[in-house]
């Protein structure tokens, strides 16, 4: 299968690879997928004043399209509010990266990872509010 130029570019030069401090209350972590399925994504966001995503990092075990999908997601997340981030849909990733049908699940996983990271952040914030 031939890859689109954008997939190759992201896979070769992935943006925002790394790890944020999971215990930081301003960090939300999403870990989705399963090793047995061949892809696992961990996406992290650090949320600043006014609910704006200041930083985003990822690590992905998966094919080039999975790496590219998560790399692109972190790029898009930075500077967005949580509400804006929630609007990112897997179809946007498919279009941007020109993913073939067999790779659509990679974009779905990226959308799940975003949602899961936002959820995690909100839960942390709720827990923090409850304890103060």
């Amino acid at each position: 299968m031939a890859y689109s130029d954008k997939v190759v570019e992201h896979a070769e030069n992935p943006r925002n690879v790394g790890t944020l401090d999971k215990s930081d209350p301003t960090v939300g972590t999403g870990l989705v997928g399963a090793p047995a399925c061949g892809d696992v994504m961990r996406l992290q966001i650090k949320v600043g004043e006014g609910g704006v995503i200041e930083d985003a990092k990822f690590k992905t075990f998966g094919c080039g399209s999975a790496i590219a999908s998560s790399s692109l997601a972190t790029e898009w997340l930075k500077g967005k509010t949580l509400d804006e981030a929630e609007q990112i849909k897997n179809g946007d990733i498919v279009t941007e990266l020109n993913l073939p049908p067999v790779k659509i699940h990679c974009s779905v996983l990226a959308e799940d990872a975003i949602k899961s990271a936002i959820d995690d952040y909100r839960k942390k914030q709720a827990a923090k509010r409850a304890s103060t």
Partner: protein, 407 residues
């Protein structure tokens, strides 16, 4: 160190045509274009003579008693189909049971499935962790309805070589025919139809530095004489077993490829074994969490199949894109299922997704091996730095204890 990119290290999928093979083929595209079945003029005679010469060379390579035992086909898939369906149809009054193994090539497995729909019973023998089927397993599976056992000489993915000689003793003793898909092992490991009591064998030119589109089926003519029903109707070529005008240039190339292996096969296997071990040890000495799939003892000399834990196979192939290899990862197949061969060995899905097959061949050099080893080392490190699983492993988290969200 000078290497030319891209590097082809996928010789289990196909092999380049040896220039000496091409040289012998070319005249048969030009002046000697006759139909080998034309009996009435010199164009036909020249073609027929060349075909018969190729037949002799191929017969010699596999230890056949007569060149008449070689039936030319379009390739091993056709040979496998003719062998299984042709034998099943001919011997159906004798029995309806066929034995094969779960790690066979799809040409065998799918032909067996078709036969099951037609009322035959097929036993798919499991394999051990190395991918081996034992002669005892075959003995126990044979019933009074068994007509055929089909087991490959060597596996295309993991390179495991089956104990055919021991299996052939059992099938001969029980009076059951033995077919082998010998495609991967021919000229690389010992193969002799007499010594191994093989009754039918599928081979193809393009895995032995010959052209694509030509193969052969060895069909034993004595002790026992094997009969089969042709699966293609037509002019009755190849003693009625395979109709269709012969691919004369292809057959000529096939013959030359066989001749080269007769003279150089042993030496070549020793060289490929050394290159393979150099590649394997350079990788495994430098990296943790790399696993060999298949057997180290009973293995094709040029094949090594490694799982790089925490790195997905397709991402790995993309990272080393100037090197042609293949992977058992689901992402490289249209089905999104990881390799059925690796699963049959009991390799977990995680490691199956992380597998890479390196297939060394005649034209690979030591410089290429060193280049590939260095590239693999750096890319595995790079991809592991990007892998959440590697990070968790480094932190001492047992990945099996994590609740994953399967999708």
């Amino acid at each position: 160190m000078t290497v030319q990119l891209p590097i082809f290290m996928d010789n289990n999928s196909t092999t380049p045509v040896d220039p000496r093979v091409l040289d012998e083929m070319l005249p048969f595209f030009k002046g000697n274009f006759g139909n080998a079945a034309s009996r009435s003029h010199s164009f036909g005679w020249v073609a027929e003579e060349a075909v018969e010469y190729a037949r002799e060379r191929i017969a010699k390579l596999i230890g056949a008693q007569s060149e008449k035992e070689i039936v030319f086909t379009s390739g091993a898939t056709e040979s496998d189909n003719v062998a299984l369906k042709g034998v099943a149809e001919f011997y159906k009054d004798k029995g309806n049971h066929i034995i094969t193994a779960v790690t066979e090539h799809k040409a065998i497995l799918d032909a067996c499935k078709r036969l099951e729909r037609d009322g035959f019973e097929v036993t798919y023998l499991p394999v051990d962790k190395q991918g081996i089927v034992s002669a005892d397993q075959v003995r126990e599976a044979i019933t009074d309805k068994t007509i055929l056992v089909s087991l490959m000489l060597a596996n295309n993915e993991i390179g495991t070589v089956q104990p055919l000689e021991a299996i052939g003793k059992v099938t001969r003793e029980k009076g059951v025919l033995l077919h082998t898909d010998a495609v991967q092992g021919i000229g690389k490991v010992e193969f002799d139809v007499q010594k191994m009591n093989v009754d039918l064998a599928s081979i193809t030119a393009h895995k032995m530095y010959g052209p694509k589109g030509v193969g052969a089926l060895y069909v034993r003519r004595s002790k026992p004489r094997v009969r089969l029903v042709a699966q293609m109707d037509g002019g009755g070529h190849e003693r009625g077993m395979r109709s269709g005008t012969l691919n004369v240039p292809g057959i000529v190339g096939f013959g030359k490829a066989a001749d080269i292996l007769i003279h150089e096969g042993k030496e070549e296997s020793a060289r490929l074994f050394a290159l393979r071990e150099r590649l394997r040890s350079r990788i495994m000495d430098a990296l943790d969490e790399v696993y060999v799939n298949g057997s180290m003892e009973h293995r094709l000399p040029g094949n090594i199949n490694l799982s790089f834990n925490f790195v997905e196979g397709e991402a790995m192939m993309m990272a080393i894109k100037d090197v042609a290899v293949s992977s058992g990862s689901a992402c490289t197949s249209s089905s999104l299922e990881p390799s059925y061969v690796l699963r049959a060995l009991g390799v977990g899905d995680e490691l199956a997704h992380s597998s890479i097959r390196f297939g060394l061949g005649r034209f690979n050099t030591e410089d290429e091996v060193d280049y590939v080893a260095d590239l693999v080392l750096s890319k595995v490190k790079h991809l592991r730095d990007m892998s959440p699983l590697w990070e968790m492993h480094q932190e001492g988290i047992d990945l099996k204890s994590v609740q994953w969200t399967a999708h």
